[in-house]
């Protein structure tokens, strides 16, 4: 893998399963392991789903019945790789413009002993619009402008309740 730059998150984990099984659980089975607290809906999340095909939606279903999109499948190559647009803004809202979305690539590589190495890269944080520079500053310098933008969005969210 390439060196990690300041706006990329890279993770590797090895699992005791075939690439086929690992791919299946990661995508079709995403609701079985996805952290329940992580969503951008206004009511608690009931379920999160990935439509398993190129162009498929990634979305959550909430207790109030609402559905919230948070991504889209860009590359679909089971069981070895997929790429999804991560359509969440730095203000914790939905980003409809793919050109402004960050991206997550997950690859599944056969390893010794029937295991699979799973490599995940979350990249292109810098695409996330006018906040990109501030985000870089935040990465390097701590707090900064990022939290102000986050504050504005959170305040807007509570005002509509």
């Amino acid at each position: 893998m390439t060196a990690t730059d300041s706006s990329t998150v890279q993770k590797t984990i090895t699992v005791e399963a075939t690439p086929e099984h690992a791919f299946e659980v990661f995508t079709a089975g995403i609701d079985s392991w996805w952290p329940r607290s992580h969503h951008i809906g206004k009511s608690p999340m009931k379920e999160t789903r990935i439509e398993c095909r190129a162009g498929g939606r990634c979305y959550s279903v909430h207790e109030d019945g609402a559905e919230g999109d948070w991504g889209k499948i860009l590359v679909w190559e089971p069981p070895l790789r997929f790429v999804m647009a991560w359509q969440i803004t730095h203000q914790w809202g939905y980003e409809p413009d793919l050109a402004k979305a960050s991206e997550v690539e997950v690859s599944f590589t056969p390893a010794e002993g029937g295991k699979t190495r799973v490599d995940l890269e979350h990249r292109y944080f810098e695409r996330m619009g006018p906040g990109a520079e501030e985000m870089r500053t935040a990465v390097n310098g701590g707090w900064g402008k990022l939290m102000e933008m986050f504050a504005a969005q959170a305040a807007a969210g509570s005002a509509t309740q």
């Binding site: 300041s6 706006s7 990329t8 998150v9 993770k11 984990i13 699992v15 005791e16 399963a17 099984h21 690992a22 299946e24 659980v25 990661f26 089975g29 079985s32 392991w33 996805w34 952290p35 607290s37 992580h38 969503h39 951008i40 809906g41 206004k42 730095h90 914790w92 799973v118 995940l120 979350h122 944080f125 985000m135 935040a138 990465v139 701590g142 707090w143 990022l146 939290m147 102000e148 986050f150 504050a151 504005a152 969005q153 959170a154 305040a155 969210g157 509570s158 309740q161």
Partner: protein, 103 residues
């Protein structure tokens, strides 16, 4: 992955808690004042504050007879840091699930 990172991730995953952090960015507040700004009960706000405090995102200080809650600026650095922790947690959960073979 340490438990502090898990706490921080959970703390940031909730809309009300993100809202509380946003309010506290403008300055320290007592719990009663915060409760008036959200459509949830005061005990619920206290519980959210406890979670934020355990995650080291919020600190509290005594001010006379009141207790003020404030952002802990050392608690987190960036969205990238958030996702770094998010994926750490998520992949850990994924590994547990994929190896349990009960999907």
């Amino acid at each position: 992955m340490n438990s502090y990172q898990e706490l921080k991730l959970d703390a940031l995953g909730d809309l009300t808690r993100r809202g509380i952090l946003a309010q506290l960015l403008n300055g320290p507040l007592p719990v009663g004042e915060l409760a008036g700004r959200f459509p949830v009960s005061r005990p619920a706000i206290s519980q959210h504050l406890r979670i934020l405090k355990e995650a080291q995102l919020v600190t509290d200080v005594a001010a006379g007879t009141r207790r003020l809650y404030a952002i802990n600026r050392e608690g987190f650095n960036s969205l990238r840091e958030y996702f770094d922790q998010f994926w750490e947690t998520a992949l850990h959960e994924f590994k547990k699930k994929v190896e349990s073979r009960d999907v």
